[in-house]
């Protein structure tokens, strides 16, 4: 064993925390004065290092430092309250990014296919008309013409549809508008139905309630009468 290898082994042994030299290494240290001195020096260095590390761990904390440390820890804890870990923060940011990216596309797609939200009783009547059960439709109680948006604004109420809204498919919109146009005093509604829905959410859509008591439906030719 040469001195270079012996000193490397001494350092590695002390760094690993071992206290006993191998037989070969012990023989070299005893026979070589230079390596013996190196071993004593390194052993003292590691002993001092370990003692100093232990002393650092047990060093008393100055009282003036405690409030600062406590405030810093509370600050970090409050920040962690929002995002407990980096994965949660990343997932939240990804969700926000996706929402920002895709929400305008959904809105645009909806505007490309103009639809109108109507109170359900109008569709009930339309469904009755479509299925030929005009008696049931006519029996529905007539209601005064009203704009829910205007009524809500006048009452200072946040604009929330009082009845569940329904969607008129774009391909059925023209037919539905023609049907409404035949009704007395409902041409404005028919005109509104032929127009695209407003792009602005806060612009009220004028929708009138339908009254179809005067509507007469005649059975189609060749079909059995009711």
């Amino acid at each position: 064993m040469n001195c270079h290898n012996a000193r490397e082994q001494i350092t590695d042994m002390l760094a690993a925390g071992s206290v006993e030299l191998t037989r070969e290494l012990a023989g070299h240290v005893q026979s070589c004065a230079g390596c013996g001195a190196f071993y004593a020096q390194q052993a003292e260095l590691f002993r001092a290092m370990d003692s100093a590390l232990s002393a650092m761990a047990n060093e008393p904390v100055p009282p003036s430092l405690l409030p600062k440390v406590r405030a810093r820890m509370e600050e970090r804890e409050s920040r962690r309250g929002w995002f407990p870990n980096p994965m949660t923060a990343a997932a939240t940011l990804a969700a926000v990014f996706l929402a920002v990216m895709f929400f305008p596309r959904v809105e645009k797609k909806a505007l490309e296919k103009p639809v109108a939200a109507l109170p359900t009783h109008i569709l009930d009547r339309w469904e009755a008309r479509r299925t030929g059960t005009i008696a049931a439709a006519a029996a529905l109680t007539p209601r005064p013409r009203v704009s829910h948006a205007k009524a809500n604004r006048a009452a200072g109420v946040k604009e929330v549809s009082p009845a569940p809204g329904v969607i008129v498919l774009v391909e059925e919109r023209q037919a539905f508008a023609r049907f409404v146009a035949e009704l007395p005093d409902e041409r404005e509604v028919a005109l509104a139905l032929t127009r695209p829905a407003s792009a602005l959410e806060d612009v009220p859509v004028e929708i009138a309630l339908l009254q179809i008591e005067s509507l007469e439906l005649k059975p189609l030719e060749g079909t059995p009468g009711e």
């Binding site: 590695d12 260095l45 650092m56």
Partner: protein
């Protein structure tokens, strides 16, 4: 069990000033410094450090070895 020695900041222990030791510890790579602080300073066992950091115990041993070796080279 290592002997605990109370020292004052800047006091020399075995010819190694504590401030120099602190500075040398700070200069260690993050992975090595973390294992050294947990093991040598805080007194956690190798198994506890392995569990806390989620790394094999052999990795803890090797990191502690390289941390002590690099620290000794800085202080030499």
């Amino acid at each position: 069990m290592q002997e605990l020695v109370l020292v004052q900041p800047g006091q020399s222990i075995g010819g190694t000033p504590t401030r120099e030791l602190e500075r040398s510890v700070e200069e260690l790579p993050e992975k090595l410094r973390l294992v050294l602080l947990l093991s040598a300073l805080q007194g956690y066992t190798l198994e506890e450090v392995s569990s806390m950091l989620g790394i094999p115990i052999g990795t803890v041993k090797s990191r502690l070895f390289f941390a002590r070796k690099q620290l000794a080279e800085k202080l030499r």
